[in-house]
Symmetry: C2
Subunit: 214 residues, 2 copies
């Protein structure tokens, strides 16, 4: 398979939230994960561990808990029937994902060592330190781009943080790891297409916050 | 310019910490930033703002403060003269960067809206909420990959967090933004090359934490 162009991939990696039931070959998933671990990490600690869930029992556990917290968090925020705005369409896809998480071929939990001493001042910290997000999310983004390049759909979700303790217990994840991202992966329903954003010039300043070139 | 392959880029994006003095055309930097903003963000809030510092005065301010906190943090951790291990070489490059930050053609501060209510429990939070790192670091990774694809060197640094308040004041960055990453960018001294990591299989488990395929 030829290697898709970086900019082409970056400009067409949309969040995909509807998936075909067709399974994904482990060969492709290895390629995706192997792209993930090429990301940088602070002092090259490589603090990630992947938990790949493809069997029904594990996916059902994640799916039912996810749907429950999703419904609570977004209760009353369902878009009106006629609303076809981008945000309404995004919300409908998010609802559809929450209702069908257990059908997605692969659910990937990206875990990271809780090694971030600077996150909360020592005297105010309670409980566990968080993972160094700057050493995990670059890996997550490599994974999303690699999926796109291989024709796989994926989306970065973090709502599992609302039931993270239960995931730890269910999957035997040790306390010294946080679960940073939940990434559903499968062949997408629907098409990849251009990623639209606010113009980059509006997000950029030069030398000082008040100095823009618009 | 042809588009470099995604996997080729991902597998050769090393942290580059030594730079030529040759300036970088704004056209390339726009291409880099425009790749950044294609990243996903929670509910598509696009919470990033870039502050690009290329003039001597701003770079000197960042460089002198960076060097000072770096020296304090890594005092006594200089590698021995004969040590040629990967970590010793990395440390030497980090020292070289800290001593020459103000010479790098472009210093990019990636800022993010402090919008992450889940990070610290309300009752324990003091001061400002952090940015949603999961909505900023994917953008940062796109930037690093885009630099590599264009032949530019870059590296993700976060040590500015130790003098973040001073950066806010100097550059007029509002309190409701955190400064997530400091990315030096320029044409690299030295070569891109394969990114070596621990084997991906060692970082992967299936269905349960204790289940690996090694």
């Amino acid at each position: 398979m030829s290697d898709a162009g970086l900019f082409e991939v970056i400009h067409s990696t949309r969040s995909m939230r509807r998936f075909k039931s067709e399974p994904v070959a482990m060969e492709l998933l290895w390629k995706v994960l192997d792209a993930g671990i090429r990301a940088p990490s602070g002092q090259n600690t490589q603090p990630w561990t992947f938990l790949l869930v493809r069997e029904a029992q594990g996916k059902q556990f994640i799916g039912s808990r996810y749907q429950s917290v999703f419904n609570k968090a977004f209760a009353g925020r369902r878009p009106a029937a006629g609303d076809n705005s981008a945000s309404a369409r995004g919300m409908r896809a998010a609802i559809q994902l929450a209702e069908n998480m257990q059908q997605v071929p692969a659910l990937l939990l990206v875990c990271g060592v809780r090694d971030w001493p600077f996150a909360v001042k020592e005297e105010h910290r309670v409980g566990k330190a968080p993972p160094s997000y700057g050493s995990i999310y670059p890996c997550v983004q490599n994974i999303l781009l690699a999926c796109r390049a291989l024709g796989l759909g994926a989306t970065l979700t973090t709502m599992h943080q609302l039931f993270e303790d239960e995931l730890h217990e269910h999957f035997g994840i040790p306390d010294d790891y946080g679960i940073v991202a939940l990434i559903p992966i499968g062949y997408p329903e629907g098409n990849f297409g251009p990623v639209r954003r606010q113009p980059v010039a509006e997000a950029t300043c030069f030398e000082h916050w008040n100095q823009r070139q618009l």
